[in-house]
């Protein structure tokens, strides 16, 4: 089925187009068409996967040129797809999680009059996401890259009759565009120095390029990745993006789109191979975001924003792993897959809670839901265990590997990155336990008119499947290093280095930190009653509640100067440039006023002037003639 891989992109795209063009007519069947389109991608994806498994490891890169996109010239780009183990991993993740979320949304969005539009956007999103991961060149990848950004914009602003939701959508798109500058710049650099923007040629030319060039490309790619994956310093949009319907947060802002930055870095491995400093920057960005996200997550009371902060932090892990170079690439993608399952599951769980609580998102208003929403509780619990990294749930296998890998190397780096990653595990345990306990345990803190109830099967079944994935996926993929071996054709063979600390010691320390985090959350939020209003808190907590002042900083550094500049420019354009023009015009008119006095209107004086003029001219001509 490999040669049918293009269908993975085409089917959902066609479905989206059909639903959007049908308009009102699609209300009855639009969502089912979308689900069917999404399910088709699963079938084709699995078919292609099975076929790929049957191939030799070295032959597992299926490349097909679909059509000539930009013809001829220096910048000749074909639209082609590249199915290799890396993109295949994404295809499976996106199609499976995407389809589950489609099904969930049928019930979740049941009462929305624009449900079919919502499904068209979801289809548009998965089509763009598939294009992103299947593209065989940076330019085509960019099409998918912007496509997912567009779908994200449309879905965050799905309820944009609320002004602040529309603002959130704009913020997401615009911050992403800042990242896109990086990708365009990277392509310009590749075109100038590597001679091509398609993977095969660019990667082949990369070893011959200078370190400076590769570092510049690497940093530009990192900028792009930061925008898409909400990494420091372009992280501020993700929290606001929770304005979108919860299935959107689960699919786009947790499981798939936000991880595209990690994909970009791993895909660009051959470029980063010649740019150790760019790679170091990737790791540093990952480490900073990891801690930042965790700190923000510890203070948020909005369940979706807490999960968003967690997503930021977990992607920080992936970036950190990717920044470690080939040794970490496989683990970054591994964590990406397991995270896709457990985080999507938890988001759907949060959606289920909101569904039962009249769209309440404040966790201080939850509590004691474990008994009332059993399915949600159990599935969320499995996700919680997975993200904590408790063996044998899937997060353990992927995150532990990242922590171990972070300790590999020499000099100061393994200590800084390793300890950060380890500390992050403790923080993760604390904030996720806080979230879990505040929602499902403790006293009931609901408002009077709320009657929590379990969601319909259509919602809980996808949650169960994702929870099952959260539980066993890690174990399955980690067995005998199956996943690392699967990705080896892309990431390359790596000589396994030894961590600076012994592996069992790292594992033990990590688990101790996790246990401490859980215990702290337990004592704070289960043993003691949770206040309904935010208690007074330390400076750090206050800062974390305000997202560590990221909006304030952006406002002071970018937005405010930008607005002032715009105003000055508008004024200057009217006053200075147009003013100068008008001054010239009125000056000319004034000159005309003076000159018109000479025009008496008397015919005979005109005639006299003409005669004199002709005589003078003649005199000149005659004189000049000699």
């Amino acid at each position: 089925m490999l040669h049918l891989s293009w269908l993975i992109i085409a089917v959902p795209l066609a479905s989206a187009a059909v639903i959007l063009l049908a308009g009102r007519a699609a209300r009855k069947w639009g969502h089912w068409l979308a689900v069917a389109a999404s399910a088709t991608t699963v079938i084709v994806g699995i078919g292609a996967f099975v076929q790929m498994l049957g191939l030799d490891r070295g032959d597992r890169a299926f490349h097909e040129t679909l059509f000539r996109w930009i013809p001829g010239g220096e910048l000749s780009v074909d639209a082609g797809i590249l199915v290799d183990p890396l993109s295949m991993s994404f295809v499976l993740l996106v199609s499976v999680v995407g389809t589950l979320i489609h099904v969930y949304s049928v019930a979740y969005m049941e009462h929305d009059p624009r449900r079919s539009t919502f499904f068209a956007y979801l289809n548009l999103f998965i089509a763009a996401m598939f294009l992103l991961v299947l593209a065989d060149s940076y330019l085509l990848l960019f099409v998918g890259w912007e496509g997912v950004g567009l779908a994200s914009y449309l879905l965050i602003g799905f309820w944009n009759q609320k002004s602040e939701f529309a603002t959130a959508a704009n913020k997401a798109f615009i911050v992403n565009r800042i990242g896109d500058m990086g990708l365009i710049l990277a392509m310009a650099l590749m075109f100038a120095h590597l001679g091509s923007v398609d993977f095969a040629h660019a990667f082949a030319a990369a070893p011959g390029a200078s370190t400076g060039v590769l570092t510049a490309i690497g940093l530009a790619l990192l900028l792009a990745a930061c925008g898409k994956s909400a990494q420091f310093p372009l992280q501020s949009w993700l929290g606001d993006a929770m304005a979108g319907p919860t299935p959107v947060s689960a699919l786009i802002h947790a499981a798939t789109m936000v991880t595209a930055g990690v994909y970009l870095v791993v895909r660009s491995g051959p470029i980063f191979a010649g740019a150790p400093n760019a790679l170091l920057a990737v790791a540093a960005v990952g480490a900073i975001t990891l801690v930042m996200g965790a700190i923000i997550g510890m203070a948020k009371d909005d369940i979706k924003k807490a999960l968003a902060a967690s997503t930021m932090s977990q992607i920080g892990y992936m970036m950190l792993a990717a920044g470690l170079g080939p040794v970490g690439y496989a683990f970054a993608i591994f964590h990406l897959l397991t995270h896709g399952f457990f985080k999507a599951g938890m988001f759907l769980g949060a959606g289920s809670v909101m569904h039962g609580m009249d769209d309440q998102v404040n966790m201080r208003r939850f509590g004691g839901l474990a008994t009332l929403m059993k399915f949600t509780w159990v599935t969320f619990g499995l996700g919680w265990l997975a993200i904590l990294g408790v063996p044998p749930f899937s997060g353990f296998w992927s995150k532990d590997k990242i922590i171990e890998a972070a300790f590999i190397g020499d000099g100061w780096k393994p200590w800084v990155f390793g300890l950060t990653a380890m500390l992050g595990a403790g923080l993760t345990a604390y904030y996720m336990s806080r979230l879990f306990f505040m929602t499902f345990y403790g006293g009931k803190r609901w408002t009077d008119d709320q009657h929590p109830h379990e969601s319909p099967l259509m919602m809980t079944v996808p949650m169960m499947i994702l929870a099952a994935g959260s539980a066993v996926l890690g174990l399955v993929l980690a067995r005998g290093n199956a996943f690392t071996a699967w990705l080896e054709p892309v990431t390359g063979t790596v000589a396994h280095g030894e961590p600076v600390l012994a592996v069992p010691l790292i594992m033990t320390l990590t688990l101790i930190l996790v246990a401490l985090g859980v215990a702290a959350a337990y004592f704070q939020y289960v043993s003691r009653p949770v206040p309904i209003t935010e208690p007074r808190a330390s400076v750090l907590t206050l800062a974390a509640r305000r997202d560590l002042f990221q909006d304030t900083v952006n406002g002071a550094l970018v937005q405010w100067p930008g607005e002032v500049l715009t105003r000055i420019a508008v004024y200057a354009d009217a006053a200075a440039i147009d003013g100068a023009v008008n001054k010239t015009a009125s000056g000319t008119a004034g000159l005309g006023e003076v000159v018109r006095k000479l025009q008496t209107g008397k015919v005979r004086s005109y005639a006299a002037t003409m005669l004199v003029g002709v005589v003078i001219l003649l005199a000149i001509v005659v004189k000049g003639g000699r």
Partner: protein, 99 residues
């Protein structure tokens, strides 16, 4: 044939015409002055055509004649219209052309 005679005659005619245009207020007289100047130049055209043995000058003279005829038609019409509306044909009166 001495072309100089014709040149002098043309000069005299032209000067007379120009003087009439410049000094007389009566539009009809001024108009006749213009005609004189045109014909002075016609005379020169024909003269030099003869001197050079080329036909072009005579053709041009015909063109000038035609233009002059047309001009007379328009000019007289204007004068008549003026005299109708203003009861006189003094050239100094109308100054609507004033800028």
């Amino acid at each position: 044939m001495n072309p100089m005679n014709y040149v002098i005659l043309a000069t005299v005619l032209f000067s007379v015409g120009a003087t009439a245009v410049l000094l007389r207020r009566n539009a009809i007289i001024a108009f006749m002055g213009i005609e004189l100047m045109l014909n002075a130049s016609n005379l020169l055209l024909v003269t030099f055509a003869r001197v050079n043995g080329a036909i072009a000058g005579q053709v041009d003279a015909f063109a000038v004649l035609v233009v002059a005829a047309a001009e007379v038609v328009v000019g007289l019409a204007i004068i008549i219209a003026l005299s109708r509306s203003r009861q006189n044909i003094s050239l100094d009166e109308p100054s609507e052309m004033k800028g």
